[in-house]
Symmetry: D2
Subunit: 436 residues, 4 copies
């Protein structure tokens, strides 16, 4: 198992060293400051965390910095590339596709880019999907649309078949835009490529609306998703104010990680309770706190991440095509529990439940995410052109970074209940620290 | 039962004649063109419908035109008014409240306006709600908020108690903002007032997000609700395009009348099927048409009004506090039926269900509705100041009108399947005319 | 000169009678209620205006109702059509183009539709623009964009050349989307066609963001433009509140007709002064009223239509390519006048000037306009297929109508200072009725 | 002059040491993780920059981390606080005011918070402004509005008078929300307080829509301003596409620092030229590049920061009340230059100029800024309660920090033309690196 300490020794991982020595082609880019091998982004930003390394005279952990390099590995005039988008929709997918195509075409002069349809299905024989041929004209306006022009699908495909497709179509560089499962797929593809000893790079762009990929500070589309939750929370607050003992309940995405719910609670300070998967609560404590709030103020707004409170519902275990556990609907569950509780104690409650569901993930990227996705797409190309493989482009301390895929998929990023983030959520909602 | 022919004889109804002769106080408004007793808005706009009246030398049916009158009934310096909002939220409620307060204060010099809390509850003893005192400072910015600053509730209260409250607080004019049930309540209050022989006017402002009140061409908030559905339908379309055989299903409000669904389908021409309560369909015909669409185009978007297809679900009858029948969830029902159908025929379908629910009714009024509500509020005051009672302010052929409440509540407005509106929906979606 | 009375005798105008008798082909549309020759939309909606006609036993004035007819003139299998967009941008142009293409293709089976580039230039030889070939795939998503995919230009082109192009390309039906100048161009083209005795129809779709075309109650894009002004007025109000004696001044479009300014003032009730071209004012009266407002409330918001107050600026006369008089910048002018006035009287004023300019016309249509444009495009096709020519599709009393172009261009529609609209603006802003 | 090296020795600055030893009151906050004196945010995030410090065995530069401390200096039960907002409007001002009031009230139990009106004027005798009394009810909804409920003004006031006011009103802690000039004012106030030897803290919250305050990575409202530019750039692009040789020109805020223009160009990748104050250009080079672009693609979009190209306009020097140099209008200037250039070469150009001006700064904070402002307000209170003074709350590497005001005002933050940011802008617009 790969852990935090491994990012200290990034340079020893195959993906960089092996190819770096082979980067002999001068980059066709001109007039840009190239990133050198000395540019690394520190993992820690708190001096306290770095002190032990200083004391021990050891290098503190750091990531390679992303960006254009002076020498590249692939000959752009001969290179063919592929792009694939997998998993659920996420704002900014089209921006990333566009950023990749524009950079390949204008920065490097790569002319052939295949857009594989419907996720990893598009790399498999049996579905018969024909790839789109992507160029600047095709992608010119796609960043103004939600979703992905390539389509998507869930679940793995036969790795050997997929590498066959890449070899057959003479693809030297594959960009995979997707989440945890997609990255594991990319890792498997890179492994099969290594076994075959062919020269194909695989570069991941982490897509997770839940912002739950480790060693990636911020993933694209997350901020847009948080922004979009504003309408739902506004509605919940308005409904709560519009009735005696009004309660507005909003369910937001977040299977294992409650970042959307947490940031949405900070961004919309009408929220009185924020429930996330990482911080367990008991029904008793929560319902009593809600009753107390209603007694004091006459209305309440609750935001719940979809993965929260799963332990409270007794349900059989089911999985979807991506292998994700099918969650119980905590929104419907809480709605029922709140109603029965107030029925039981003879109180009144006017509860309105809002589940914006796919609305918050199918919108176009907001301006901030658009800028983010553009540079992300460019940096994925810069990384790929140097022959880096089995890695993804992340973002850390305001810098774009290179992260080995095995590291990123080693565990899931979650809210630390002892972090400043959660502390800020508690300070902002005013909810009791402990709802157990 | 009161019907269409009654609006021809509006002038014979008690509400106007009786008080008109008593309007002896000159309006304090200056510099505005007053509406005269000769201004009436024609009911028909198609010459064909008016021809028979011409032939018979009879007056064609028409409404009183709303607006300020030269002479008024109430002495503004002594008048106290009340406002109450009932039923579900609707965009523009605060705009109407503000329009009423501003007009009472600035146009007529009325200084005392009570805002009764939480619907008809606020007029009843037993809830102990204290009314807000409304003036221009209090309402200055409220039109920028969704919901109602007064709060709302469902269901009737004791009529006698409510009239007691009005008498006790010396209120001469009550404005009720609400839907069918609220208008029936207003009618009952006006009846009790008549029985007691006191001088209190009751003026209704029809609030129905479903746009389903008869003899009212357009009700406030409706256009905002249609506008807000754009995000949900955009999401459904994006999701449908993002997967093989993608289906986006959106449920919109519309208990008995599918106007929101119909206009949303015209306003978002990605919709392929629009299902409304007024046009029955069979599951077989609908599912086959859906399959045909998927075979031809690979994706589909369906919009369903919440009251559609109720006959297809076998459910016991339940009612809410307003006496409305509790509807089955046609969205969840269709989602299940579509999935089983494609399972059965061995086809694939990737269905994403979006229910924006309260989101579309809790937003602030859009600019068009804001302008509409402002004039509506003013015209309600103009009507009330002349002593008109048991009537509401409607809108017909781009003009604001006076409509007797008994006429407006006599039946529910619905989409006529033979109308140009429904014909336009069919032409726009391309769905089969007959899904039975 | 053609005037109001002519619409009473619409049926005598060449454009309808001549072709109606020639409509022998059954419409391929099925399952829609056809409009009959008896369906006419009344010009008046106030009973008072119609009374004299009744008394005189004359038909009151009315328009033909738009919509699909049972019999058509052109054989869809042989028909080629053209579309051209002229003049300034307006929200909804792409919606109308799309509505026309979809209706031609799906309702009638017309397969060839040329999209002429850059206005009437595209119909002229000398520019060498190649027309786009339009079909459902090309126009599928264009309604989500502002502007026009065809491009536009100002000014007339040689009429004979343009008809040559139509003849050479075998176009039987031309749709012109544009304003006053464009409609006059369409009239000239129709005249030349008549002179040549060829069978080509010319159908106009009135495009005027200022809503200033006569006998057209509401033109597409107008409501969107009014909506978009909300951000600018919000900003002006916020800036005005944020400083001592803060004044927010917003200039909105409206060359000769102040409808945008008037409706924007109703839709954003923070406006304290609305100045429009139709209602002259003197600087003295306006500045004194402004000072009075500032003394009383400490801030003020002013909305001015671009054509207002032109008489107050002494400027030489210039014209643009469309022959429109170049207006002086009344916003900059007022800004200067207000500053000097307060300087002179020793008062303080913090004025912030906002000119949203092209922002409000380059946005996509809002949902309400989208629905409007869709049906408008369909109805233009329905009219054209019956052989109607030299006419446009208008909207009156909530119905789509046929209007002879000579009638529509006979004069410009303006705000009547004695109308309920202007009265409502005065009541809402609270500004003095007379600023002269 | 204070420079970068000073932040290494933060602890030696009076503001921290002196008071830290006096923090003897336990914080009333419970259940939050307190920030310790060991938590410091590293100034550098690139390992390369930190290497020399490691080699020299010196501490790398760092900021104090912001957040609640275990021990505080002021006794909340006795403390009165003041808030003042100065300079131009900025999205999020009300969020920050609200965050401060909520934290003082709910986290610490401080009951008296004065909101001084209209900037430093409110602290001066001669204007006679009465401060607002702020509490949770007053500020509950203000974060949903643009601007500042306190009002603002430009320019300094007599320092002695302002400290008199604080002493007279027994204010122990003053929060100043403003830019460079405001911070210098805060520094002067803190200096006078020190001279008088009284116990009053002054905590700054940097407000700069231009994001140009040194040692502050991101200032509130900046992201909202960038977001709001989308509508203007969309309009410019739409207009450019809608005409032959169409050029859309947008002027954005940015007096000395072009961050808004740069990020807006990344966020809206239709921009072809981004001109900022930090990167000089010659008219010749720019106009030739524009001509080349038009020849190749037929349209172009230009974004210019308001401070760009000032050297190209020959103008006399003027200053505003804040002492800022009055800039020439580079938008109008470029518009003229572009037109004459194409006139001269006999080319055609259809230029549309859009200046969104105050629109982008008067809107409410977007969700991301709302979350940012909330925590910023809380952290300003946490800092103030510990007795820190003459400092501001900044943001660096995703952490909130403490920055001495003298350091922050020592120079202005600008775009480094050799940075990755500018390199990304060049890569994204495709404009020539060198326009001189």
């Amino acid at each position: 198992m790969i852990g935090l300490e491994d990012i200290m020794t990034l340079d020893d991982l195959d993906f960089s060293i092996e190819t770096l020595s082979k980067c002999r082609i001068p980059s066709p880019m001109t007039g840009v400051p190239f990133v050198s091998q000395k540019d690394h982004v520190l993992y820690h930003s708190n001096f306290r965390d770095i002190q032990p390394f200083l004391d021990a005279r050891r290098e503190p952990p750091h990531f390679e910095m992303a960006g254009p390099r002076e020498k590249i590995y692939f000959d752009p005039s001969k290179l063919k590339c592929g792009i694939v988008t997998c998993g659920g929709l996420c704002p900014g997918q089209n921006d990333v596709i566009r950023g990749i195509v524009m950079s390949l075409f204008y920065h490097y002069g790569v002319k052939t880019v295949f857009g594989y349809r419907f996720g990893y299905e598009g790399l498999s024989y049996k579905y018969g999907h024909t790839p789109l041929e992507l160029d600047p004209d095709v992608v010119d306006d796609i960043h103004k649309w939600g979703g992905t022009i390539l389509g998507s699908s869930r679940g793995p495909q036969d790795v050997s078949e997929m590498v066959d497709t890449l070899e057959r179509m003479n693809v030297g560089l594959l960009f995979t835009i997707g989440g945890d499962g997609t990255l594991k797929g990319a890792q498997a593809i890179a492994g099969e490529i290594a076994r075959r000893g062919v020269n194909i790079g695989v570069v991941g762009i982490p897509k997770t609306i839940d912002n739950d990929i480790s060693f990636v500070g911020k993933s694209f589309g997350f901020e847009t998703a948080v922004s979009e939750s504003r309408t739902a929370i506004y509605g919940a607050h308005t409904e709560a104010l519009g009735a005696r003992n009004g309660v507005g309940l909003v369910k937001l995405m977040g299977r294992c990680s409650g970042f959307i719910a947490a940031y949405a609670s900070l961004a919309n300070n009408d929220v009185n309770f924020c429930l996330v998967p990482e911080v367990p609560f008991s029904l008793e404590a929560f319902l009593e706190a809600l009753q107390k709030r209603l007694d004091a103020r006459g209305h309440a707004v609750i935001v719940v991440g979809e993965g929260a409170g799963q332990d409270l519902m007794k349900r059989p275990l089911e999985k979807d095509a991506s292998g994700n556990i099918k969650l119980g609907d905590v929104g419907i569950f809480l709605k029922g529990q709140i109603k029965s509780y107030f029925d039981k104690i003879g109180g009144e409650v006017n509860l309105k439940y809002i589940d914006p569901s796919y609305i918050i993930r199918s919108v176009p990227a907001n301006p901030s995410d658009s800028a983010f996705c553009l540079v992300l797409g460019h940096d994925a190309v810069h990384a790929g052109m140097t022959g880096r493989t089995n890695m993804l482009v992340g973002h850390w301390n305001y810098q774009f970074t290179h992260v080995p895929i095995p590291l990123a998929v080693s565990k899931r990023k979650q809210i630390d209940p002892h972090s400043r983030l959660w502390s800020n959520v508690l300070s902002s909602t005013g909810q009791p620290k402990d709802l157990q």
